[in-house]
């Protein structure tokens, strides 16, 4: 190794690194932080102003330098996605903000929109400028009523101050945002289903290609990103791509929001540099489990669970490490599963969720996810299952992998497969004895 490499500062991979500072979430929970005066007092819209004095390609380059990957779950590099937009022509283009957050275990985007809506708007302005879109669509899930109200107020305030509309922030760039509410359907988080939903159609996913860059909202060139992705872009423009890239691991840069739920002392949303360990998140920040734990779901309900061991807790939370461990970072929504919870019941809860949310468009998902799999679980939990049923179930989920129209079927199959991998004995106990290894109990606190 050359000296130059040895001299390079070590990347920031822990919240406790003195160089780390909370950036994305520093205003969440502060009274009044959702207002425009508060936001501007804290440097709001300066990053957009700066971006608007450069060029779209300079903004895209900065985002590429940062190494930012999409925070909606799949982790696609943001700068690269933006450069997929076709050359400008006379057609309207759209930048779309995916605020449909509904993957169980995920709740980071809501706090942004409730407490820091301007950060999201500022990110959309920057992204719109970068891809040449003068219109934005902000699709917020229907249940997030307070978020919707806060965003509406924020957008109105921006109009009053020349931040949205003609000549954004005194520049020659025009930009406006259409705020649209969903109405309770998880599938609307899938990018093309979201576009159909926005257009007033049933929210079935579309066949890809064409990708949104070619034919997105109303069939026009569009780019879609997650709420947190937009918020990250603000700080990348404010502090530079290099600042961002100094945090994290080789394939995962920057700072990210993680969520912890389940029985831990301090559940909630925590911002950490990428590459920090589960242990740091679950123990140092969230205070550790309040009862013995046996597994955790690393990134929202669709990501395969990991058993609760010293090795898994010491895994760095980044895209590559998760892939190596056979799972995914997803939305960063960690769910701790206590020892006393029947694993079959826990997974049935997840299966039931996907069954409810299957849109019914394609056969593997409609028959597998929405019909047969939940029925098999009901049979097992009623004490009527057999060892053969387990084999049938494993076979069924194998056949659901990669065969459906959109990834929803995989999202359902993966947690099932992981539960069979690590907790088959609980299934076997249930079918052999007709009763779960861990009896149903009362989880409600006084």
């Amino acid at each position: 190794m050359s000296d130059a490499v040895a001299d390079r500062p070590k990347p920031i991979v822990s919240r406790f690194d003195p160089r780390f500072e909370v950036t994305l979430y520093r205003h969440v929970g502060v009274a009044g932080s959702h207002t425009l005066p508060y936001y501007r007092e804290h440097g709001g819209y300066e990053a957009a102003k700066r971006a608007l004095t450069t060029s779209p390609s300079a903004v895209i380059d900065e985002v590429k330098t940062s190494g930012l990957r999409g925070r909606g779950g799949a982790g696609f590099p943001t700068g690269i996605k933006w450069s997929f937009m076709p050359p400008a022509d006379e057609r309207q283009r759209f930048i779309v903000c995916n605020a449909d957050e509904s993957e169980p275990g995920s709740f980071k985007d809501r706090y942004f929109m409730e407490d820091d809506p301007h950060q999201v708007i500022e990110g959309m302005i920057i992204a719109g400028f970068a891809i040449g879109a003068t219109r934005g669509v902000l699709y917020v899930r229907g249940e997030y009523y307070l978020a919707y109200e806060r965003l509406r107020e924020a957008i109105a305030a921006c109009h009053a101050e020349g931040i949205l509309g003609r000549g954004v922030l005194g520049s020659s760039f025009d930009f406006d945002i259409i705020l649209h509410r969903g109405a309770g359907a998880y599938i609307c988080g899938e990018e093309t289903a979201l576009m159909n939903s926005f257009e007033g159609l049933r929210a079935n996913p579309r066949l890809k290609p064409p990708f949104p860059a070619q034919a997105g909202v109303y069939g026009l060139p569009s780019t879609i990103n997650n709420v947190e992705t937009f918020a990250s872009v603000v700080h990348i423009m404010a502090k530079g791509g290099a600042w961002y890239a100094a945090m994290g691991t080789d394939d995962s840069k920057g700072t990210k929001l993680y969520q912890v739920s389940g029985p831990v002392a301090r559940p909630g949303v925590y911002e950490l540099p990428m590459g920090a360990t589960f242990r740091e998140l679950i123990f140092d920040l969230a205070g550790g489990p309040t009862m013995p734990a046996k597994a955790f779901i690393p990134g929202g309900s669709s990501t395969p669970m990991l058993p609760w061991t010293d090795e898994t807790l010491d895994l760095p939370m980044d895209y590559g490490s998760m892939a190596k461990a056979g799972t995914m970072l997803g939305t960063g929504g960690v769910i701790v599963i206590p020892e006393a919870k029947c694993m079959v019941d826990a997974i049935y809860n997840i299966v039931r969720f996907y069954a409810h949310e299957s849109c019914g468009k394609c056969t593997p998902c409609r028959e597998g996810v929405a019909t047969w799999l939940p029925k098999m679980y009901q049979k097992l939990l009623a004490g009527l299952g057999t060892r053969e049923d387990l084999v049938v179930m494993e076979d069924m989920v194998r056949n659901m992998r990669g065969t459906a129209f959109c990834p929803l079927a995989d999202a359902c199959a993966m947690p099932v497969q992981a539960s069979f991998k690590y907790f088959r004995h609980e299934y076997e106990h249930l079918v052999d004895h007709g009763e779960p290894l861990h009896a149903r109990r009362d989880w409600w606190s006084a």
């Binding site: 919240r15 406790f16 979430y25 929970g29 509904s102 169980p104 995920s106 709740f107 985007d109 809501r110 706090y111 229907g142 249940e143 997030y144 009523y145 307070l146 259409i178 649209h180 509410r181 969903g182 109405a183 309770g184 007033g200 159609l201 049933r202 109303y218 969520q259 912890v260 389940g262 029985p263 002392a265 301090r266 559940p267 909630g268 949303v269 911002e271 360990t277 242990r279 123990f283 140092d284 969230a286 205070g287 489990p289 009862m291 013995p292 734990a293 046996k294 309900s301 609760w308 010293d310 807790l313 769910i335 206590p338 826990a346 809860n349 039931r352 969720f353 409810h356 989880w443 409600w444």
Partner: protein, 203 residues
């Protein structure tokens, strides 16, 4: 079958709300008029607690669609209702993190107290119950959404108090729950104070 013919003559919902209609339609580009479908449905749902046949026909008319097209979209989503929900529409998150915090017991309790089960509205039109999926509030589970508002960390005693308040028609605005970074003012300092730090394994 002939419901279409026997429609009671109700005044059109949007007839006396031209400004609202113009505002909603004006949100979308001309070629995207159909996008107004969801917001129109929502206005009716909110005002009348359901979207009835006459309203469906009216919205279809406004947008130049057929009633079946409107119904097709409406039925896709869980927050538009064909039949009126109660004055207090109790939506209980039944998904994993909430279930681990007592959502199943919460449901049983509310169902027993109000006398309605999932999907039903009581005779007086006061309470209705709907089991819903993850509300994005898993860190402050269990969550009960009453009409538009989230009530979080609904413990047994909080739930009883909420129910009492609803029965007396003096339900208060929800308390605000924030957790995680906003709870721990300075987690680095918190650790120095000797609070739990990475010891690992089951406690």
């Amino acid at each position: 079958m002939s419901a279409q013919l026997e429609l009671p003559t109700v005044a059109p919902f949007f007839a006396d709300k031209p400004d609202l209609l113009v505002e909603i339609l004006g949100r979308y580009p001309d070629y995207g008029r159909r996008s107004a479908l969801m917001p129109l449905l929502w206005e009716v749902q909110r005002a009348e607690r359901h979207v009835g046949e006459a309203r469906i026909a009216e919205i279809a008319d406004i947008l130049g669609l057929r009633a079946t097209e409107v119904k097709g979209v409406m039925s896709f989503y869980s927050t538009y209702h064909e039949h009126p929900v109660g004055a207090y529409h109790l939506q209980i998150c039944a998904t994993l993190s909430c279930s681990l915090a007592g959502a199943d017991e919460l449901y049983d309790y509310l169902s027993e107290e109000t006398g309605v089960v999932n999907g039903e509205t009581d005779r007086e039109g006061r309470f209705s119950i709907q089991k819903v999926e993850c509300l994005g509030s898993c860190g402050s589970a269990p969550v009960l959404q009453i009409n538009d508002d989230y009530y979080e960390r609904v413990t047994r005693s909080r739930c009883a108090a909420l129910l009492e308040a609803m029965r007396a028609d003096r339900l208060e605005a929800p308390w605000r729950e924030r957790s995680g970074d906003t709870d721990v003012a300075d987690p680095v300092a918190a650790r120095a104070d000797g609070s739990p730090s990475g010891t690992g394994g089951a406690p």
